[in-house]
């Protein structure tokens, strides 16, 4: 009970901190858009193709086109607080609806590759660390270094080239023009289009978790308690499982949660290349076509997404490790 109270207090504090941070993110992005010489807001209103002067006036007052930056900013902030994110130019729909639909598609892509890369990466890391300095270790390390240096979008291009164009195993794109809400795509079609981006994103994500797990396992294997376990006669795979993996797993999972930002960045590139109808592709289109409300909305939700990962990592670190968990109880 005491523990739950602690957790609630912890979460409360974190969330308040985050809301403050989010307000600054919103203000910062707004300033950036507003200071742009391209003037995206005016472009946005012009591109909406609104002809009636009344409507233009409404939109201009929504964005506060002729007002000073501070007024504009707080107007926009007030709108956001009322959950009014405006209307998307490209999709001709409320920004919230667009984001909801796109984010679900992206979450499927991101989380499936997140799990995939986490599991494979962890296993490779354990093998590499356990077999330190052998050929296997070196091969895994080289693989990771190369992947870490490879631009995500290039890997995606190569996969597209090999698996879709040459082998024809997967379609080259969803084929749904940007701007239509793709509700009538069958589940099977959609799954088939998910696999290749998912694999690409996983392959790219494996490197960091593998190298981290490997180094951490080697640290543990050099630790006093690992030595003592050896001295007590524990050996081989049992030793690694009992004292190695147990001690590496939590930091590795924590790291994986901290990687939400990179994951999102990867998704932006991968979705663009595979024309996967997710939030990343929407962000790029919104940026290129001055869909200001959509772009700002995506920035806000991406920050929330990244923050969720950080928060889970924090909770894992502070409440799952018995050293800190039990210590808190004793202290309270």
């Amino acid at each position: 009970m005491l523990k739950n109270e602690k957790l609630l207090k912890f979460l409360g504090k974190k969330i308040v901190r985050f809301i403050i941070l989010l307000i600054f993110v919103i203000l910062l992005s707004f300033i950036l858009i507003d200071m742009s010489p391209i003037n995206p807001v005016k472009t946005y209103i012009a591109n909406l193709g609104v002809v009636s002067p009344e409507k233009i006036a409404i939109l201009e007052s929504y964005w506060g086109v002729n007002e000073p930056i501070t007024t504009k900013m707080f107007n926009w902030l007030a709108n956001i607080i009322h959950l009014d994110f405006g209307t998307s130019l490209i999709y001709r729909a409320p920004v919230l609806d667009v984001i909801k639909q796109k984010f679900v598609a992206s979450l499927v892509l991101m989380l499936s590759s997140w799990i995939f890369s986490g599991v494979i990466g962890f296993l490779l890391g354990v093998v590499a660390g356990f077999k330190k300095d052998t050929i296997i270790d070196k091969a895994i390390k080289v693989y990771c270094y190369i992947l870490q240096s490879a631009p995500t979008f290039w890997i995606a291009l190569l996969f597209l080239m090999v698996f879709s164009v040459y082998l024809g195993w997967f379609p080259t794109g969803l084929g749904v023009p940007v701007g239509t809400l793709s509700e009538n795509v069958s589940f099977w079609d959609w799954l088939q289009r998910l696999i290749l981006p998912m694999i690409t994103l996983s392959v790219v994500g494996i490197a960091s978790i593998t190298l981290f797990t490997r180094d951490k396992l080697i640290d543990v294997m050099n630790s006093d308690y690992f030595l003592f376990a050896k001295a007590r006669g524990e050996s081989g795979w049992n030793l690694i499982v009992r004292h190695g993996i147990r001690n590496v797993l939590l930091p590795a999972i924590t790291l994986q949660f901290l990687g939400f930002s990179e994951l999102f960045g990867g998704a932006v590139l991968v979705e663009q290349i595979f024309t996967y109808p997710g939030i990343g592709q929407a962000a790029v289109s919104a940026g290129l076509r001055s869909d200001v409300p959509l772009l700002l909305g995506i920035v806000i939700f991406s920050a929330i997404f990244v923050y969720c990962g950080n928060l889970i990592a924090d909770v894992l670190y502070n409440f799952v490790d018995p050293r800190i968990r039990e210590g808190e109880e004793d202290g309270g």
Binding site: F228, K230, P322
Partner: protein
């Protein structure tokens, strides 16, 4: 009494990289020789950080990979290969480590003490044995479910000692078991070793605490700059120390508060700056010319050993 462990001419060195990645060979233990019999406590006495813990690691075959081990370590007359060490560690030979840091922070005490088991029956049997020994050392059932960080200093010490005794060992190697403990716990820990001795177990006590060594040990090996310079009997540390052989041991004895607190000038040469000759040359009061460039061997004088030219025949 049968001999248990024989350590002959053991040297341990490391390859080390310094600023700019210049490489050097760092000798931490040089030409170390000692032996332990059943029911005997041998203390190896050296200052903290002098690398004497590595002796324990060498016996258990758990030296770091970049360490170089030379010399012979035999158990019951049979030289131990790395495989042999892996086979007998935790069975015939057990380690009592320095501190609670040697316990896995994420595993409950009882699970660590029992170790890996292949079947439920084995597990039950080991658990019963563990409970029995823990009980003997005044560790209640609640300790079984604790994590290492929850143990108090005295409890941690008892856990480490009783964990060691779980496998009915013949030889116990205790690596710095007393620092950071209060008077009472130190006494208690030393008593554990006395009891082990009474049960016929050989104990190698690696320590920097001369009082602890004098209290329980039968013989004391003096460790200086990586060398064992003397192995003396406990009885020699009496009176004026006239039965002690090596000048350093004499100086050490005289530095004790009870014997006048006479401190010798200078410090032990650090690893890597040890002179060619006798490591004690710079501070020695009875040095010969040859001590400067020639290193004395460890002389066997029956139940004692000393590394000094003064005791060479004809000298």
């Amino acid at each position: 009494m049968d001999k248990l462990l024989d350590v002959e001419n053991v040297s341990i060195s490391f390859i080390q990289y310094t600023q700019g990645l210049n490489q050097r060979d760092l000798k931490v233990i040089t030409d170390l020789t000692l032996d332990i019999s059943e029911g005997e406590i041998l203390a190896v006495l050296g200052s903290s950080g002098s690398g004497k813990s590595l002796l324990a690691h060498a016996i258990f075959g758990i030296l770091p990979e970049n360490a170089n081990l030379n010399g012979k370590i035999s158990y019951k007359g049979k030289e131990l290969s790395q495989e042999d060490k892996e086979e007998i560690r935790g069975k015939d030979i057990v380690l009592v480590p320095q501190s609670v840091n040697f316990l896995d922070p994420l595993m409950k005490i009882s699970d660590q003490a029992i170790g890996h088991t292949d079947s439920d029956e084995e597990r039950k049997a080991k658990k019963a044995k563990q409970r029995e020994i823990f009980e003997h050392y005044n560790l209640g059932p609640e300790v079984d479910e604790m994590y290492p960080f929850q143990l108090s200093g005295g409890m941690a010490r008892r856990v480490l000692v009783s964990t060691a005794l779980l496998s009915n060992p013949k030889l116990v190697v205790a690596d710095e078991p007393t620092p950071g403990l209060d008077e009472k716990t130190v006494q208690e820990t030393l008593n554990h070793f006395k009891h082990m001795k009474e049960d016929g177990i050989g104990v190698l006590l690696i320590t920097h605490d001369i009082h602890a060594a004098l209290e329980v040990a039968d013989r004391i090996g003096i460790f200086y700059s990586g060398y064992v310079i003397e192995i003396a009997l406990k009885e020699d540390f009496t009176g004026d120390g006239e039965n002690l052989l090596h000048p350093y041991t004499k100086a050490l004895y005289k530095a004790l508060p009870a014997n006048g607190f006479n401190l010798t000038k200078g410090h032990q040469p650090l690893h890597g700056e040890i002179p060619n000759g006798c490591p004690y040359y710079d501070r020695c009061e009875m040095r010969f010319d040859r001590c400067k460039d020639e290193r004395p061997e460890l002389l066997d004088l029956g139940n004692k050993k000393v590394r000094c030219f003064k005791y060479e025949e004809g000298a």
